[in-house]
């Protein structure tokens, strides 16, 4: 029984946080503060429980054919949403292996972060509002991952954007924070509409937005012909949507600003869940992406560039959350890199481990901020003595993200980097394109495994350059990551305290509700990666296959991509290459840690010298490559051409943003149009007459 119609638990999973949000949002102000906590935590806790039950049902339901396990999916149609004409969409949920991991992340980490927030927000008067938003966010995120069709996903997609906006701007007293929230929302919306258009395009070609039906169409030999021509456009459009939500170049500008929100929010939304929804979506649509190698190449390049530039910007941040924010951008770049090179498993593996260690790091930083009430790491130092638990867990997180061997980040990052070197698209194999074989014929008639069996294959130059290029960028980024993370660690927890004494005397270890989630997450960050060991270790040490659990779990989902689309370039037994790649990345990571240790603990004067020497470069990095300013320039310049911009120019070039810049065009156009509104009724009547006369003249011109 693979396809069951109604599995009600899926509805309950999404419903619980909604109920929590409604209770807290509508009557939360009148409820006792304790009860607000209990409602918020129990709703997401129940959701977690139902998720576990549902996943168990999914596993129980799996069919075993030979040594293959087919999980299929469970689904639940809540109700028929839009039904008119040929356009029909249900509010329907679906649970498959892909969703199940995201479910566990959202509800599991979500639960921990709710717990943590109880302590963190204990002094906040409007706690009910906070928890209501947070629950609402969980609801939207669950919609996003549970959706059985693209429209439900889109609703969740918009919903998480709105909730993120509400939560970033939660402490609204600060104008900058309100602006940050708005910026995040608007930038996201630019991407959202690309997603929407992509969805429409898919809908026209296929007549459905249901994932299962779409997958059938895209993988079926007969119907593939219809979808193949638009696959590239659709995937690029959907990817643009993802760049907005997942903070990729060029739409990453909102994420660092979004750190204005409360720290648990940053941990949950801007590290663990919402920002990875782009990766989730692309993985969900992997069958579409794999049809179009060009789109994948774009994704890989954007991902690698984002990873690299994010890491370089993180090098010079002095805000503890700023470092983590840019690190998030960088790690998200890794995930897209993985998607681009066809290692969807690697991408999701990194989503999981990243959720663990980045949530841990954010919560740890929140604990620090809670304790010393500053975010500037130059005013910290030596906090390990005051807050040992936080320091210990933070160290685990840093080791995990730096790819320290046998920590979770090691496994996932290793898989991604190795995939970058080894994976290649079938169409990129040398000779395939030259022979001018029709794409569809190739996809359907030439089973790719036949190519892999023949040992190492030649790859065409472009694919080779792109693959190795993104791989090398990834490796460099790994080193940078280790460096800036340990810089953060050393500057915060080691050495001497650099702030004023009074603050230090108030500094304290956080309450248990905050430490327990830290500990749990530290455990996960340390051992969460053990579910997907590198192949060569399993092979050489003759370890049980179960250590490759993660890959097997997703085998069915990524069947299309794995089997037909992507081949290992190094032949059937690439273990030596894989080991070398692993060694390199580990070595680079350790080097990074070593330099961080030297620069910030042993010889603290070195960074200053380096900074002095590369003054310009440092300036570029601190100013985030002038991207905000670039947006500004691009948009403001055109508004000057419109003849109105000169007076705004000075102001906006300095403190503008994407939003302000885009608004400037609108403003200058609007100003011209607004001047029509002179308030003189006769002038209005003249406009009306002119409108009639001109349109008549145009029409007559056409007729005659």
């Amino acid at each position: 029984m693979l396809y069951t119609d109604q599995f009600y638990y899926l509805g309950l999973i999404a419903l619980m946080p909604l109920i929590g949000a409604l209770i807290n949002g509508l009557i939360g102000a009148k409820l006792p503060r304790k009860l607000v906590d209990v409602i918020a935590c129990s709703s997401i806790g129940l959701s977690f429980m139902f998720s576990l039950i549902s996943i168990k049902a999914l596993v129980d339901n799996a069919a075993h054919i030979g040594d293959e396990t087919i999980y299929g999916h469970l689904s639940y149609t809540a109700y028929q949403w839009i039904y008119a004409g040929d356009f029909g969409v249900d509010i329907a949920f679906m649970l498959d292996p892909l969703t199940s991991m995201m479910l566990l992340l959202i509800t599991g980490i979500g639960f921990l972060i709710h717990l943590y927030s109880v302590g963190y927000m204990s002094e906040e008067p409007a706690k009910w509002r906070y928890f209501s938003y947070l629950n609402l966010f969980c609801f939207s995120m669950l919609l996003l991952v549970l959706g059985k069709n693209m429209l439900v996903t889109f609703i969740g997609w918009e919903g998480v954007g709105a909730c993120s906006y509400l939560l970033i701007g939660f402490w609204y007293t600060d104008d900058a924070k309100a602006a940050a929230g708005q910026k995040a929302f608007i930038v996201n919306r630019v991407g959202d509409f690309a997603f929407l258009v992509g969805m429409f395009i898919l809908f026209y070609e296929t007549g459905t937005v249901d994932y299962v039906a779409l997958k059938e169409i895209a993988t079926d030999a007969a119907s593939m012909a219809s979808i193949a021509p638009i696959a590239g456009v659709a995937s690029i459009l959907i990817f643009i949507g993802c760049t907005g939500k997942s903070a990729q170049i060029p739409l990453f500008v909102w994420l660092p600003d979004a750190m204005a929100g409360p720290t648990p929010v940053s941990a949950l939304i801007h590290a663990a869940t919402m920002v990875t929804s782009g990766v989730f979506l692309l993985s969900r649509m992997n069958w579409l992406l794999t049809i179009s190698p060009e789109a994948m190449m774009v994704v890989a390049i954007i991902g690698a560039l984002t990873a690299f530039f994010g890491a370089t910007m993180a090098l010079v941040q002095n805000d503890i959350k700023g470092v983590l924010a840019y690190s998030t951008v960088s790690q998200l770049g890794y995930m897209f890199l993985a998607v681009g090179v066809g290692s969807f498993t690697g991408a999701l593996f990194h989503v999981m481990t990243h959720a663990f260690f980045k949530a841990l790091l954010f919560l740890g930083s929140g604990s620090v901020i809670h304790s010393v009430h500053t975010q500037d790491i130059r005013e910290m130092g030596g906090l390990r003595k005051v807050m040992p638990w936080t320091a210990g867990t933070f160290l685990v997180g840093c080791m995990a993200i730096s790819g320290f061997p046998l920590m979770s980040g090691f496994f996932s990052k290793d898989l991604i980097l190795w995939s970058a070197f080894s994976n290649v698209h079938v169409l990129n194999i040398k000779g395939v394109l030259e022979q001018n074989i029709g794409v569809i014929d190739l996809l359907t008639n030439t089973p790719a495994p036949a190519i892999t069996a023949g040992g190492a294959v030649d790859v065409n130059v472009l694919a080779l350059v792109v693959g190795s290029g993104v791989g090398v960028l990834g490796v460099i980024t790994a080193g940078l990551t280790a460096f800036y993370m340990f810089r953060l660690y050393f500057m915060t927890f080691e050495g001497e305290y650099r702030g004023d004494e009074e603050t230090l005397s108030h500094a304290h270890e956080s309450p248990p509700t905050m430490v327990i989630p830290l500990a749990v997450l530290a455990f996960l960050a340390a051992f969460g990666g053990l579910t997907g060991w590198p192949h060569f270790i399993v092979h050489w040490l003759h370890l049980p296959e179960g250590l490759l659990f993660f890959e097997h779990w997703y085998e069915e989902i990524f069947q299309t991509s794995n089997q037909f689309r992507i081949v290992g370039r190094f032949g059937a037994k690439p273990y030596v290459y894989e080991a070398i790649a692993t060694a390199i990345s580990v070595g680079v990571g350790l080097t990074g840690i070593f330099f961080a240790h030297r620069f910030y603990l042993v010889q603290p004067e070195v960074p200053g010298r380096v900074k002095a020497k590369f003054e310009k470069l440092h300036q570029v990095l601190t100013d985030k490559y002038y991207v905000d300013e670039g947006y500004d320039l691009a948009f403001v310049k055109s508004s000057i051409k419109a003849g109105e911009g000169l007076t705004f120019f000075d102001k906006n070039i300095l403190d503008g943003g994407l939003v302000n810049g885009a608004a400037q065009i609108m403003v200058s156009c609007g100003r011209i149009l607004r001047n029509m509104q002179s308030g003189d009724v006769q002038r209005y009547a003249t406009y009306i007459t002119l409108g009639v006369v001109l349109s008549l003249a145009v029409l007559y011109g056409y007729i005659s």
């Binding site: 002038r683 003249t686 007459t689 006369v693 008549l696 003249a697």
Partner: protein, 317 residues
Amino acid sequence: MGFWEPLFFWIFAIGAVTSSAMVVLWRNPLYSALFLILDFFFFAGLYVLLSAHFMAVTQILVYTGAIMVLFLFIIMLLNLKDDELGEFEFRLHHAVAAVSVIALFAIIVSALLPTQRSEQLLGQVENGRAQAQEALRGEETAFSSKRTRLEGIEDKSRRVDELAKLEATRPRLRVATPAGVKPEGASELTSKECATVRSVDGVPGLFQDMNEEGLDTCYQARVRRWVSKDPSKRMDPAQGKYRRFDPSKPVVIPPRISGEGLTTERGTIRAGKPAGFGTVQPLSVLLINRFVVPFELTALLLLGAIVGAVIIAKRRL
């Protein structure tokens, strides 16, 4: 056409345009209002020329008698001094307005021009028709002399036969229509009527005789077809203004009208003189029959307007 009608048309037309211009040009609203009243009289005259007698009367009663009095009342009430009226000062949008109004006029006239061309075309048709009528008159003369001759036959039965034969060959004018549309029911018309009807029902024609008598006859011919007893010849009472006539609806089929009057079960009632086009009778019948819904809506509209005017203009509520 005659002499008087064009003369009055030009008097009224020039008067209307001049006084309209005066309404706009005069600075004092009082004089503007007086010129507008004059203008309305010219319009009423034009309506008379257009056989819209009732509308001409209404124009004077409603517009001049009621609306313009209201205007004058307000002007007197506000009692604006000369210096309050302000001097005319030229502004850019005046030029724009002038240009766009001239353009609007040019466009309207260019749209209307084809109607003049079709009048010219019609003039040629008119000539042909005159010749045809000339010929017809000749034929009719021949016909009548033949008839006189036949009536001289003494054998009664033969005479009747001959006369019947002759009657079948009575000369008739076939109706010429500009776009080749044969008017429905045209064959029912006598030659005199035919001469006045050109394209009553033919859609394309935008032209019609302006002859008063012909107009009435034509209108009556049409009305007669509404009340015809023979359903195949009967048009919808609403002049076919709506497409699907409900057969289930209890339609009151009026008694047949003969030349003398109305034949009913109780005898014949003499028909009055046919109601003329543009007089109050057909208008009132239309108003309470086909246009009863807009009529009621107008009642609502006036009520709403009264309340609105009161609430806005009243000083203290």
